[in-house]
Structure formats: structure tokens, C-alpha cells
Point group: C2
Chain length 456, copies 2
């Protein structure tokens, strides 16, 4: 333990400089014109893995953006840990809300501010540096592989196929992922549940051109008004989704489990204050934690129609669009929900508009067991480094590929995340506390050690 | 009549070239950075008026954008016609839907395609060229004044004050305006009613930043979902506006008047086909003509929130915005409607969002008598040039300043418009048929003659 801390302290600045170099590459998978940066980020990670001591580090093609693969095989008789992460990031828009440039990391208040500082460059780089540390200090207790993809933020469209075609290469005993949060620095936790996702885009077309709102207003169906009505009707006054069949497969959580979840520390006033809202809003009959942990949701992620510029333009728009996503819980199926949504949305449209619905991406939810070696190893490692036993929690987020890993590779995942909810991932001013970054690097070698013990 | 036609035929190409020069100046009043172009357009018009034979032509400052004033006083004992028009145009967005550049006029299918081709550069320039024609052929039957403003498309915020301060300068017997449509080239009509307007912008603020829709979705009120619900609730299942008090001042039109209106030719199938819609949609119990002519309406002119770019971004947006306008009928008051809307909109907002409502512009509706000299003169002039007696119709559009003219200057207006509904004003590919442009120039001198007769 002392040796781990010493190594981190001695190399602190270099670790940060290396991470910053990775962050400076704007590897935004949603933007087709960032393809060059995607390859640049992949190559840079591959080099970092090799430099950290991997025997093998390479950039592998997929049908989409490449996967960085690395491995360090110590002894075939020892367990193998497969680290999964992603080098792609969310778009940084709206740019004007950033206090410092999103792709030029800046340290303020002991936090790294940048797009990807946490999600997932910061979190995955902890693993690269933990490998270096274990290698340099002779502490690598088992075998390790890395699979770092470039399409997580757009729903990992190529990774399932990549896994199918590389089952041997990816053989491992556990998949270790740091792409989630813990409750607080003094309240460590381990994510044991993830929500699934259905993300769709809808387009309504009314008249074949924008019309003068005086000459036509009141006589021709306005796609923007109609879209508002259609979206409004997707949820009821109790904030329940009204799509027929939507709740059919939702696994109800027992009263006992709910009582256990309710013991996780949560301060509603602090939560509201942090978001500057007067009231929370969600499905009737559930707490805030339950609303994101065990219940599905429906959110408009974006909506646009008509004139959105300066001043007034008196038009009745021809088209209206929205991006709408649903977070799903076990055992909702993302493809089934896509279908339920699409059929409902088309059904409720009045005849004066044409409707298009396109599924942008999706994935299943996941629940990790807490009575298996990887959970026990993670809990022991975190207890030792943070000084407190972690709490198992269900997160509202989604890492759709996790359920695919189990299906295709037959390997379970452990979500040992070091982010905080306040890290503003996907938002302007994303950040990652230095404390969490270095605590992560300190915890990972402990996980390797305890996992190997648990498996022996 | 022959002399008028001859003069037009001889000068056809020059008339168009001059109009095109005016159109090429992108005088978009909604855009603050177009100030220089506004002055350029004003100066160009002032020169054109002087060249056409005005004794006096000048650009007069207002508290906003300048007014072009011109006059040709023939004989103080003769009647005076005050021509009103506007040199500002609507923004051309969305630019990608234009078949030719909006500020580079192009003639296709015997129509001028450009922003402002009809509204109102094309229509007002007919008056400039009619003045030249009357001057050059010795046919000017009375006195004429021009008042051409640069803020019509943003609600004429300075013109009422300008009128108050220039009552003497603007003294006239009638205000002549060409900024409306007729039913068809073979079905001329005169607009005898205009709707009023209340145009507002709303902003909802939920959490203080865009949130990750997985970590927060279902637990925090989403301003985009909430805005959809709020907009949806502004109209009911019969497409009536639900704002309390909204219909209180609506002047009901008698069954007899409605029967008369129903005689105006209207082909619903052709209307739907022209717009490529399967069904029209509007207030229950009223025809399409009535829905725009004698009934108020509520339209979303623009809506925007969250991520609207390429691909998927899983955020719960911090803010949601909409531009919402209502067309009003006599005797609804625009300011009162602004207040009713604002108070309703704030009332229906849930506590988890903050609401801002801003009035962008407005104006009162107007109904012209059909038993006064200007209407009779316009009807005679149109009958002579088009070969058919025009039909009086109520338009759904708004020219808010018309009711102000009557209030401040004590002068009535006659709306002798030569546009067509198919001119796509305010839309991409705005156009103005050459036939209408030249017929307008032919009709205006006849109006001058008959108006002078009617007044003598």
C-alpha cells in the first residue's frame, strides 16, 4: 500500500500531463467529421498501454470506429481481468456555457475541467496508469487485457459484432469497468444496476413549406403545436409513461429491497440546491433514488422547429423534430420499447401531419450480483483505499454494452466507478476531482490482488 | 389606358432591374447587424422616389430604423393619397430550402423569386413606378405622399411615434397600402379585414445545467417535456384556445355575413394539394376561410431546447424556449391578450421550472368599410385592369400599424394588394408573378383617377 502511494506521489504531474494530452484530442464519436481525431485518440492510447508495460497493444478495426486492444499475460494459470473503457466523448455543446475551453483541460478547485475529464478518459486512464504502477513495482497479480472502444457515446453499434468475432482474444474472468459514479468521496459505492436505453428521433411534416402564420394560422395543422401535444400525451399527470405495454416487463422491486435502497444517504434539499430547482418531479409513489434506480423514464433530449433566431418571424413551420429517449429497467427490452414507442407515436398523430420515427440507439439494462468474487474484491479494495465499506447502488445511467458482454462473451462485469454525480458528465464544465483520479489509481491494484485471491 | 400599357411595355426591363437592385439589399429588420443595409435600402428608395418625379424625397430618422418620406404636391385643392409600404424583409432562413439565393432575384416560370419579391419590396415598388408613369405621361390626378418604413416585419415599434410627431407632414385623405393578397389572377379581391397579433417568447429554466439523462431522467423536471405539456394545454380538443378570457372580446360575425363570406370561391382540395396535407385542422364549427378571416388562432412559430445536432446526446436540458403568437380579430386587444397569455402561462407552470415570458410585438386587427370612396375607387380600378369586379375578403394576416394610423392620424386605409397566397411570403422561395407586378403598376394610376373623382 505504501509502495503504491509512493509511486503515485512521485509520478503525479506526469500522470496528469499524459491524461491531458489524451483529453486534448476532441474525439467526439457523434460527429462524422471527427474521424481523424478518433484514430488519433486510439493510437495515443495504444502507445500509452505499450509504454505502461503491455506485451501487446494495437488498434483493431471494427465496422465502425476502432477498438484499442492491449494485454499483459503474466501466467496463464492466473485469472484474467478485461478492462473496458471508451475513448470517445460527448459533444461539448453548448460551448458558450463552458468556463474554460472543453478540450483544454484546466485545474480549478482541485478538479480537472474538460470534456472527457471523467467520462471516460479520466476514468479509463486510471487503469492505464495502474497497469504501469503494477508493472514497475512488480505488483501485477494476474493477467490483464484492455478493450477500449470509440463508440460508447453513440450506443456502441460495432462492439457486439467485434466481441462475437474476437471471443478468444477477449477471454477473461471478469470485465472491469470504471464509467460510473460513487455517492461521495466519503461515501464510496459500487453500481450494481444500470438502466437500459431506447433513443429515438421523430419528425413531423405538415405543410410542404413554412407558411405565413397570419394567412394560414388557425386553418392548417401546425407541426410544432402538434408535436407538443403528442409529447405531452406520452406521460400522464402522475408522470407515468402512457405508451401501452411500456410497464409490462418492468421487474417490480420488493418492498424489502426498496427499504434497503432507502438506507443510502440522500439529502433532497442538497440535491435540489445543487441543481437550483424548487421541486423535484417524477413518477408518483417513488423516491428520487427509486425514480432513477429502479423505474423507467421518458425524456425529451432535444426539440426543434420553426424560427429559433433573433426577433420575431411569423411562420407556421413545415416541420417539427424531437429527440426522445427512455431509460429502461430490467426486464424491459430496448427493441421492444422502440416498437411500442413507434407504434404509439404514429397512432396518436393527427392526419394533417406525416410522421417519421427513427431509432438512434438502445441497449438493455443490467443488474450485477453482489455475492460473487468481483463484487467482493471491489468492495475490499475500496474499503481499504477509501477507509469505508462501499454501498451497492443502482444507477440511472446506461452502459448498454454490459448486457451484451454477458450475452456474447459469457463474462460478467463489475462497475467500479470513481466519478461523482457532480462531475457534470455530458454537460458543460465536465470535471473530475484530482482526489478521485488518484484514489482510483490506488484502488485498482488492490482490486487485482483481491480478485486473484477470491478466484484462487 | 393604352398610354399606361404602352409606357409599362416600353420600360418593363428597366422596372425589373431597378426592383432587383432594391431586392439585392438584404434589409432584414430582425437582425441587428443589418443596420447598414437598412440605411442602404432607405437611401436607394429615396433616390428612386426623387427620380420618379417626387418634389421631395428624404430619409427621416425615427427612434428605430428610418422612414423614407416622399411627396409630389400637384394642387392643394386636390385630394392627397399617402402610400404606405415597408422596405424591410423577413429573415430568409432556412437558407438550404431556397432554390436560388434569396437576395439574388431570379425569374423562373414568369415569377420573380427572392426574399421581398412580394412582401413588400415588389408591391411597394409598383407604387414608385406608377408615380413615374403618371408623372411622365402627365396623368397624376392628385397629390401623393410616400411613407415607407423599415420595421414592419418586427412590428413597427417606432412608426406610431413617428406619426404622432409628423401629423402635418402626413396629412392625407386616404392611406393606400399594397401589402396583401388577392384570391387569384382571375379572381381579384380586396382585403377588408386584417387580424391583430400578439407575439411572445417564453423560456423555461429547470436545472442549472444540462444534466445526464440517465443519472437524472425521471427524477428532475425536464423543461422540454414541461414546455410541451404547457403548449399542449393552451388549446383544447376542438382547437379552441384555453386561455381564460381569450374569446371575451371576439366580435361574433352574423350568420348573414358568414353566408356572404362563404360565397368567395374556395376549393379545399386544391388548398390541401397545394400544401401537400391530407387534412386541414382548425377551430371546430368554422370553415377554413372563417378560421383565418374571423377567428383568432394560436401558433408556435419556433421551439428549441436541448441537443438538436447530429446523432444522440443523452441530456436532460436546462432550458426550453418557444416563440408563440396569436392572431387576433376585432375587438381583441393585443396588449390585453399579452397579459392574459402571460398570466396563464405562468399559472400552468409546475414549480420545478422558472418561467420567463417576453412580449416581442403586437398590434390590433382592422376592418375596412366597403361603402366609402377609397373602396369604390379601388374596386373600379381593379375591375378595369383585371376585367372582373373584385370580391371583398378578410385576410388572416396582420398589418398592426393600420389601426394605429386611424387612431393617430385619423386616416383610413385601403388595402389594394396584388400578391397571391402562393407567393410564399415569409417562406423559402418567396416569389411574385410578373403578371401581378405589372398589373399593379397598371391599376394604381386608375385608382388615383377614380379616387379623385369619388372625392370631388
Amino acid at each position: 500500500m505504501e509502495q503504491i502511494k509512493n509511486y503515485i506521489n512521485k509520478n503525479r504531474d506526469r500522470f496528469l500531463e499524459e491524461l491531458f494530452d489524451l483529453i486534448r484530442i476532441p474525439s467526439i464519436s457523434a460527429f462524422a467529421d471527427r474521424r481523424e481525431d478518433m484514430y488519433k485518440a486510439a493510437a495515443s492510447l495504444s502507445e500509452s498501454l505499450f509504454a505502461a508495460g503491455a506485451d501487446r497493444a494495437e488498434v483493431l478495426e471494427t465496422k465502425g470506429l476502432p477498438v484499442v486492444f492491449g494485454e499483459k499475460m503474466t501466467d496463464p494459470s492466473l485469472p484474467t481481468i478485461l478492462v473496458y473503457g471508451h475513448y470517445d466523448v460527448q459533444p461539448a455543446e453548448p460551448l458558450d456555457q463552458w468556463k474554460s475551453p472543453p478540450f483544454e483541460p484546466e485545474i480549478r478547485e482541485e478538479k480537472i475541467f474538460a470534456r472527457g475529464a471523467d467520462d471516460d478518459k479520466g476514468q479509463l486512464y486510471m487503469h492505464v496508469k495502474a497497469l504501469e504502477l503494477m508493472e514497475k513495482t512488480g505488483k501485477l497479480a494476474c493477467n490483464v487485457k484492455f478493450m477500449i472502444e470509440g463508440e460508447e457515446e453513440i450506443g456502441s453499434p460495432s462492439l457486439k459484432d467485434f466481441c462475437r468475432m474476437n471471443k478468444d482474444l477477449l477471454r477473461a474472468d471478469i470485465i472491469l469497468i470504471s464509467d460510473t459514479t460513487m455517492i461521495a468521496q466519503d461515501t464510496p459505492s459500487i453500481t450494481v444496476g444500470l438502466r437500459g436505453l431506447s433513443y429515438l428521433e421523430v419528425e413531423l411534416t405538415g405543410p410542404n413549406r413554412d407558411l405565413h402564420s397570419g394567412l394560414y394560422g388557425g386553418a392548417v395543422g401546425n407541426p410544432a403545436n402538434i408535436l407538443a401535444k403528442m409529447i405531452a400525451s406520452l406521460t400522464d399527470e402522475n408522470n407515468r409513461v402512457t405508451i401501452p405495454g411500456f410497464y409490462d416487463d418492468v421487474r417490480e422491486v420488493t418492498a424489502e429491497e426498496r427499504a434497503q435502497m432507502a438506507r443510502a444517504p440522500f439529502n433532497l434539499d442538497a440535491y435540489k440546491k445543487a441543481l437550483d430547482i424548487e421541486e423535484v418531479m417524477g413518477e408518483k409513489g417513488y423516491s428520487t433514488g427509486e425514480r432513477t434506480g429502479i423505474r423507467p423514464s421518458l425524456d425529451v433530449n432535444g426539440i426543434w422547429s420553426g424560427y429559433t433566431g433573433e426577433g420575431a418571424k411569423t411562420i407556421l413551420p413545415s416541420k417539427a423534430h424531437a429527440k426522445i429517449s427512455m431509460r429502461l429497467v430490467p426486464d424491459q427490452d430496448s427493441e421492444k420499447v422502440d416498437e411500442l414507442f413507434t407504434s404509439r407515436f404514429k397512432n396518436i398523430a393527427p392526419r394533417c401531419v406525416k410522421v417519421q420515427v427513427k431509432s438512434l440507439y438502445g441497449g438493455q439494462g443490467y443488474v450485477t450480483p453482489i455475492d460473487f468474487p468481483a463484487y467482493r474484491a471491489a468492495a475490499r479494495a475500496i474499503e481499504q483505499s477509501f477507509g469505508k465499506k462501499p454501498i451497492p447502488v443502482r444507477s440511472g445511467g446506461s452502459i448498454p454494452i454490459v448486457s451484451d458482454f454477458e450475452e456474447v462473451l459469457g463474462i460478467k462485469s463489475i462497475l467500479m466507478g470513481f466519478g461523482l454525480d457532480s462531475d457534470a458528465i455530458h454537460s458543460p464544465n465536465e470535471n473530475f476531482p484530482l482526489y478521485n483520479f488518484f484514489k482510483g489509481i490506488e484502488t485498482i491494484p488492490l482490486f487485482y490482488r483481491y480478485f486473484t485471491e477470491e478466484m484462487s
